[in-house]
């Protein structure tokens, strides 16, 4: 009876917690949208004049001004904008006349996500083994290599590393293309071939970080009694490390991946421009240069939403990875 009451209480408190989390996220989203709206309002230039082009009459100007709702108070304009944004009516580009939702969400976003996912894969595939080796063979040359990569990867800006990799692998060896994008979803081989250098550029930044975290968490785990217990049961060493050890390294790994997402997006913007990939970074960069503030606004909204979504996802992953957190 007591147990039942407890679990009910527990459930209620958990529901309350998740409601609080939802409310908090909603509030952040509202503030983010407000900032994005302010951005458009504060950006220089006259949107009406931009839309009409070089030659227009006073009447057509006034009419469009009213049609766009620019004569109404800002708060009203904000809610009008927000409701249209939620519906995916983001307007169209002045330059290419393209629908911005289509441009940003259907064209640019998948490119950035593909690049980021591939880079993360590269970073995990290199970083985790490197970190494990560094932890097992502490103070060996492997360990020194791992920390050198960590320091170097942190210091080499993506745009510079990208240029260096182009110089080595495109110009000197001619193995990989230095620009252009082919979707790996429609043409797997060609896509991966085109994305190899960008993924390496962006992934390199993460490799050192992942190796460092893997190493330091594994070093802690290695001293735990259950590791000795696993060895005492006669389990093979690889199983002890990779199954019992790595399971407990996953948490800090997910944390650091989530925490460094800002760095990932920063790197993605620069990498896209270096390799001329038509992703979000390229889109925002071009839009700032051509003063297409609507497109810039769409870009900053999407990146912020992405940022918030991944942070929520990271929070969720904790409870999946660590059963102890579920009991609370």
């Amino acid at each position: 009876m007591k147990v039942a009451a407890n679990s009910l209480e527990l459930r209620a408190s958990r529901l309350w917690q998740s409601l609080g989390a939802v409310a908090q996220t909603a509030l952040v989203l509202l503030v983010v949208s407000g900032i994005s709206f302010l951005f458009l309002k504060l950006s220089p230039g006259d949107p009406v004049a931009l839309m009409l082009g070089s030659d227009f009459s006073r009447d057509s100007y006034d009419q469009l001004y009213r049609n766009l709702g620019l004569d109404r108070p800002w708060l009203q304009q904000y809610f009008h904008w927000l409701s249209r944004f939620v519906l995916g009516e983001w307007g169209s580009s002045y330059v290419s006349k393209q629908d911005i939702f289509e441009l940003a969400v259907l064209q640019a976003l998948p490119v950035t996500l593909t690049l980021a996912a591939l880079s993360l894969l590269v970073a995990l595939a290199v970083g985790i083994p490197l970190g494990v080796l560094a932890a097992i063979k502490r103070n060996s040359w492997m360990d020194i290599l791992a920390s050198a990569i960590a320091i170097g990867g942190n210091a080499f800006p993506s745009f510079y590393l990208g240029v260096v990799l182009i110089w080595i692998f495109s110009v000197a060896f001619g193995w990989f293309p230095s620009m252009g994008y082919v979707s790996p979803w429609s043409d797997p081989l060609g896509g991966l071939w085109h994305l190899a250098l960008p993924a390496l550029t962006l992934g390199a930044w993460y490799v050192g970080l992942i190796a460092t975290v893997t190493r330091s968490s594994l070093l802690e785990v290695l001293e735990q009694p259950y590791m000795a217990a696993a060895r005492a049961r006669g389990e093979p060493e690889w199983r002890v490390i990779w199954v019992h050890g790595m399971r407990n390294v996953l948490m800090p790994l997910v944390t650091i991946i989530g925490l460094q997402l800002g760095g990932m997006l920063r790197g993605a913007v620069m990498t896209e421009v270096v390799f001329t990939l038509p992703g979000l970074g390229m889109m925002i960069t071009n839009a700032v240069q051509t003063r297409e503030y609507l497109v810039v606004q769409a870009g900053i909204m999407i990146t912020a939403l992405l940022f918030i979504a991944v942070n929520l996802l990271v929070d969720r992953t904790y409870t999946i990875l660590d059963p102890r957190l579920r009991k609370k």
Binding site: G34, F39, A155, F156, F159, G262, R266, V269, I284, V288
Partner: protein
């Protein structure tokens, strides 16, 4: 710099004690070696930046098309770019703009961030709630994207780069300051000062600020390298400093187009940028490890 050493009383056995005293001797040295190496690199760049006019063999913006795109030689140690400008001279002057942007933007962001954080932490109530929700919103944007958006509103140029970066640093600084203020505020000496009718201004200046200064300054120090990275990134994207200002990001962007003919155009300034960032990171990490008791022993 004094470094608190862990108490050895709880340790038992001679071996542990020997290990402990060895570690006590070795750790600070190791740590300071890291910080010292970083400090050396940073000092070198500061010296180059300060004495750039004396050290640079040519004017950084002097164009000489007869000598364009020459590889490294005795005449031009780092070669020349497509306008025949001397890359060594431009790299020296580039240190100037990089360090200045890094220092100025972090200081400005720190100033505003500390003000916002103090206001939120000390006032509490609705002001705190509103300020912190605004900060949450600002922090939801990745830094580079935020800086790009600010550049779009402000326009190009060095001063606007500084302003844009400073604005995107306000959020993180404000959040840290507020958290620290809340901690300090709960401590008895603040209450004692309040009870003694010490004026609010004096409480802030003499009791709160000194107690939050060191973690904030360390954070500011680490941010300088981020600022320099972001500033050169903005220039690389064509959204920062405008040519012909000698700037590493701009030079790398320009060199990218000539990578097959003149790899030194992007290579040299990039090496300078990476070296400076390594120096700044080493310095910041070394200082953090030495000063922050929480991370002591982490890199052993």
């Amino acid at each position: 710099m004094t470094i608190a050493t862990p108490s050895l009383i709880s340790e038992s056995g001679y071996w542990h004690r020997f290990q402990g005293s060895f570690a006590r001797f070795w750790r600070p040295v190791r740590r300071q070696r890291k910080a010292l190496a970083g400090l050396g690199i940073v000092c070198l760049f500061v010296l180059v930046a300060v004495f750039a006019p004396a050290l640079a063999p040519y004017s950084p913006t002097e164009q000489n098309f007869a000598d364009a795109m020459q590889g490294p030689s005795w005449k031009h140690w780092m070669g020349t770019d497509s306008y025949g400008q001397d890359i060594l001279s431009r790299t020296f002057y580039g240190a100037r703009s990089a360090l200045w942007i890094g220092f100025a933007s972090v200081s400005l962001g720190l100033l505003v961030g500390v003000a916002v954080g103090l206001l939120a932490g000390l006032r509490g109530g609705r002001i705190e709630w509103a300020l912190m929700r605004a900060v949450d919103g600002l922090l939801a944007f990745p830094e580079l994207i935020m800086a790009m958006a600010f550049m779009a509103v402000l326009g190009l140029g060095m001063n606007n780069v500084i302003l844009a970066l400073a604005l995107s640093f306000v959020g993180p600084f404000a959040r840290t300051v507020r958290a620290d203020v809340l901690q300090v505020k709960a401590r008895p000496f603040i209450e004692a000062a309040r009870l003694m009718d010490v004026p609010e201004r004096e409480i802030i200046l003499r009791h709160v600020l000194p107690n939050i200064a060191s973690p904030i300054l360390i954070q500011a120090g680490m941010r300088i390298s981020i600022a320099i990275l972001l500033a050169s990134g903005l220039s690389f994207l064509g959204l920062g400093v405008v040519p012909p200002t000698p700037d590493w990001g701009l030079m790398i962007a320009e060199g990218r187009g000539f990578i097959s003919m003149a790899p030194w155009m992007a290579g040299m300034p990039g090496l300078a940028l990476a070296t400076l960032l390594i120096g700044l990171n080493l310095l910041a990490e070394g200082l953090r490890d030495a000063l922050d008791p929480r991370t002591r022993g982490e890199h052993s």
